[in-house]
């Protein structure tokens, strides 16, 4: 719940004159821009294992990151204390990226004050704050969830429930005199169940994560997670590896959005393009997939794990169309890349914590629905596979090659789902797969699971996609 500005000044033991002095210190060697990122994050977690909540804890992470830019070059330092001595030492360390000492005030007339706007929107619908609830208050939910999961299938021999939350107080200030503050809640519940059928053992995990408060711990969430954990488990015990090779692949709605994230989204991040390494570095304005396709990165979905009022450079959260009608129209920018390309930042400057300088990162990445029906896409495939659960996606940004590990799916034969498959990989090339999109259904789902992107730093994201048909990908198999 966003509070008054004074709360953040008090939390970090600073005031406006101190912030100005820090900026001045950071730009003393001739840097062109300086920003400050104060963070106080409180974490809590409870773990149920073997039928009892016997493990839990809380953690505090507090500090300030100071960034100095000299053109596109970055100096970065951080301190875990906000005493003037520690912060000013950091500012001097970051300032070393520049080497033209100056005594001129960094706040020149070319950088007028932008005032102190409050967030234009509060995208974290938090009714019951996490930190106002004692940890013991979460125990009944965890116990009911375990009982519900166990009650779904008598083959379940183990259940692990992990409830975690974090609340981050953020204060940002920069040499444009932009002052922003935010409080970001994030709650997550993850369940793993181990099933045994005869001698065969299978495990399945599922999770939900939202930027909201304790109210997310509802009976409907228990039902949702319980339904999800047993969905498809019969098929998983029967599943086989298919014969490998090139074939059409139908990707189910929702979690298949990881394909967009890994295979396309990363290549749209502007730092890879600014440095020339992305396969899309010279494709701005070009048709990169069939007409009618929109690919979006969105920080405005209220309560979504990727939602942001401001990014970690103080730029307002927004919805960014990367592909419109099949044409590449925008990269995902932080301030550095936006200045490089002469465009406005898109609110994608994100960081794991004050320990990291911001870089272009995704938020909620998805493809808009098309007009086809999912069943028609499956029916159009003579021999291929349908996949709906992935893990371990990875992409090589330069080449555009990607792989995904398929946890569950089905063989398609004669337009019908005939045999469950598992433990295979799909491999392809991002630009080729985009160009080879042969159908997009009308059933977009933004997946509510706890996705985390690990590009240099870990940040919460989400992804989504409608059911899509890709003409040909390589499927690993026997």
């Amino acid at each position: 719940m966003i509070k008054d500005k004074a709360y953040y000044f008090h939390t970090f033991r600073v005031d406006r004159p101190v912030l100005d002095r820090l900026i001045t210190e950071g730009l003393r060697s001739g840097g062109s821009y300086c920003d400050l990122f104060f963070e106080n994050t409180a974490y809590g977690n409870l773990l149920l294992r073997d039928g009892a909540v016997t493990s839990g804890g809380s953690h505090v992470d507090y500090g300030v990151g100071i960034r100095v830019l000299c053109g596109e070059k970055t100096g970065y330092a951080y301190s875990e204390s906000t005493s003037w001595a520690d912060m000013s030492e950091c500012a001097r360390a970051a300032a070393q990226i520049a080497d033209a000492p100056t005594e001129v005030s960094p706040f020149g007339s070319q950088n007028p004050s932008r005032g102190e706007p409050n967030p234009a929107a509060d995208r974290y619908p938090e009714q019951e704050p996490w930190l106002s609830t004692p940890m013991s208050g979460f125990l009944p939910f965890i116990q009911r969830l375990e009982a519900s999961v166990k009650g779904r299938d008598n083959r379940i021999i183990k259940v692990i429930v992990n409830l975690s939350f974090q609340v981050s107080d953020i204060l940002m200030y920069n040499s444009l005199r932009e002052l922003k503050w935010d409080t970001r809640p994030l709650g997550s519940v993850a369940v793993t169940a181990v099933f045994q059928q005869g001698a065969a053992v299978e495990n399945k995990s599922t999770s939900r994560s939202f930027r909201c408060g304790v109210e997310m711990l509802s009976e409907s969430l228990i039902k949702d997670l319980s339904d999800d954990i047993v969905r498809g488990i019969d098929a998983r015990f029967e599943a086989r590896r298919p014969k490998g090779g090139k074939m059409p692949v139908v990707m189910g709605a929702g979690a298949s959005g990881i394909l967009l994230h890994e295979a396309m989204g990363h290549a749209f991040e502007a730092d890879f393009n600014r440095k020339g390494t992305s396969i899309f570095a010279d494709k701005m304005g070009r048709q990169i997939c069939p007409k009618g396709i929109q690919i979006i990165d969105d920080g405005t979905l209220a309560g979504n794990r990727g939602a942001l009022n401001f990014d970690d450079e103080g730029v307002p959260g927004q919805k960014t169309y990367m592909v419109e009608d099949g044409v590449l129209t925008s990269y995902l920018h932080d301030r550095i890349s936006a200045a490089h390309y002469g465009v406005k930042p898109t609110g994608n400057g994100r960081r794991e914590s004050f320990r990291y300088a911001p870089i272009p990162r995704m938020r909620a990445t998805y493809m808009e629905s098309g007009t086809a029906k999912a069943e028609d896409l499956i029916a159009s495939v003579q021999k291929g596979i349908f996949v709906d659960e992935f893990s371990n996606g990875q992409v090589q940004i330069g080449e555009g090659d990607f792989t995904f590990y398929v946890k569950s799916g089905w063989l398609i034969e004669g337009g019908r789902l005939t045999m469950p498959v598992k433990d295979i990989n799909i491999i392809g090339n991002g630009p080729q797969a985009l160009a080879d999109l042969q159908g997009v259904a009308d059933d977009l789902i933004v997946d509510p699971a706890a996705w985390t992107c690990g590009k240099e730093q870990s940040v919460p994201v989400s992804c989504g996609i409608p059911t899509v048909l890709i003409g040909q990908l390589t499927v690993g198999g026997e």
């Binding site: 804890g57 970055t74 181990v194 433990d423």
Partner: protein
């Protein structure tokens, strides 16, 4: 700089230990650590980024009335920590009791690590490095312009890590080390606009052992070598895995021997202790106490003394990695929490990758993995790979968009050779490996 942790900070940790006991904790373990990092990034031959940081963390593990919790904070003022500990103990008290939770038996604790530098992993050279010297060390770029090269990124860093672990049984164990690292990544472009990237890196506890020269050049050459890939049909091939990435095939085996996976019945190596599941020629040993070697340590996160021990010996599973808690849950003797410095014994009469290729004859050399996973319960795996087709022991052309699939126990039972070429900077000393009759899809 004698040490990162000051006497006052150590005294604060000791105060927290005593304070937690005063507040009702019967047993307490505290780990206080600090890390100092300096980093210089290079983009296309010019310094692009500098980073300076000093991290600190105080972690408490509290055993209260048969209950257990883990807490941490980086706000290290005494008054604030006392309030934090009071709240933490309150949180632990609301958890359910677990009779398996306790500190390790005192006789298992490390008693030879009070100074922090016993393993000779600290290099005083870090204390005198200047910003200018760090820039010089980072600037290892290839000469620009270089043929096909469109982007080159590099990073040099040095760090100091200093940590103490204390417990209410009198444990005082310290680990101090330095690390110096260099890494470069190059992207090249062919005439058709296709991009190919690769990297090279090195790391060492001592600056004089860091191989700076040639790092960027090697990354560039590895990227060039990938140009002109050809597709080959799927099928069964002999698989040779370069030492640079061979650890990827061993990690899931070690994970399956880990206590949490075993206890949760989520391991394809459940009930494997003492059984010969792997081939006679496979011997894997944990050697955590080799002086001066990257990654070595005298104690694990519980303060338990590490020791050299066989993990797999002549194909027989010899060790589960069991901490105090999991061992009590499973009713087995505890060992150590996890592997430290894994060494795969050479086999097959090969010293180098070239020897392995000659022995293998024809097949696919894997130089990198691209995604993939393994099922911890079954051991089934599928990994994307990049590398080269080789014939008669000689590399013919690069391959891409290929996958390998199989089962980890089956894979290791097809071990043909393990070379003796693991680089000292690798955390797991897994050399170049060869396996016969592996399924490739393309």
């Amino acid at each position: 700089m004698n040490a990162l942790l000051s006497a006052a900070e150590i005294a604060l940790a000791q105060h927290c230990l005593a304070f937690a006991q005063e507040q009702g904790a019967q047993q307490v373990r505290i780990t206080l650590s600090k890390t100092l990092l300096n980093l210089v990034g290079v983009l296309n031959g010019e310094v692009d980024k500098i980073t300076h940081s000093l991290d600190r963390s105080l972690q408490l593990q509290l055993f209260v009335d048969g209950r257990f919790g883990t807490f941490s904070s980086n706000r290290l003022d005494e008054e604030g920590l006392e309030a934090f500990i009071r709240d933490a103990i309150g949180t632990v008290r609301m958890l359910e009791a677990d009779s398996c939770r306790s500190l390790p038996a005192p006789e298992r604790l490390a008693k030879d690590a009070a100074g922090g530098r016993e393993l000779d992993l600290y290099d005083e050279a870090v204390e005198s490095l200047t910003p200018e010297e760090r820039r010089r060390l980072a600037l290892q770029s290839v000469a620009w312009p270089a043929e096909h090269l469109i982007a080159e990124e590099g990073e040099y860093s040095d760090s100091v890590f200093d940590s103490i672990t204390l417990d209410s049984q009198g444990l005082f164990a310290r680990h101090t080390e330095t690390s110096f690292e260099i890494g470069y990544e190059s992207t090249v472009e062919d005439a058709q606009g296709n991009h190919f990237s690769s990297y090279w890196w090195d790391a060492a506890p001592r600056l004089k052992d860091l191989r700076l020269k040639g790092c960027a050049q090697k990354a560039y050459e590895r990227a060039l070598a990938q140009m002109g890939p050809e597709k080959i049909p799927g099928g069964k091939y002999t698989l040779v895995v370069d030492t640079e990435c061979a650890g990827r095939l061993l990690t899931p085996v070690l994970n399956a021997l880990g206590g949490y996976n075993l206890q949760q019945k989520n391991s394809f190596l459940a009930d494997s202790l003492g059984k010969k599941l792997f081939p006679e020629q496979l011997t894997i040993t944990d050697k955590p106490r080799t002086k001066g070697d990257t990654g070595c340590r005298l104690f694990d996160s519980e303060g338990v003394a590490t020791r050299e021990m066989p993990v797999i010996e002549k194909g027989v599973v010899k060790t589960y990695f069991l901490n105090t808690y999991i061992s009590a849950k499973m009713g087995l003797e505890p060992t150590v929490e996890d592997a430290t410095r894994i060494v795969v014994q050479p086999t097959g009469g090969c010293a180098t990758r070239e020897d392995v290729l000659r022995k293998a004859g024809t097949g696919i050399l894997v130089t990198g993995f691209n995604g993939g996973n393994s099922n911890p319960a079954t051991g089934n795996f599928s990994y994307g790979i990049e590398g080269f087709f080789f014939r008669d022991g000689a590399i013919v052309h690069p391959v891409r968009e290929m996958l390998i699939t199989g089962n980890l126990i089956g894979l290791w039972n097809q071990l043909l050779a393990a070379a003796d070429d693991a680089r000292p900077c690798l955390s797991k000393r897994v050399p170049t490996l060869a396996f016969t009759q592996i399924d490739f899809s393309s």
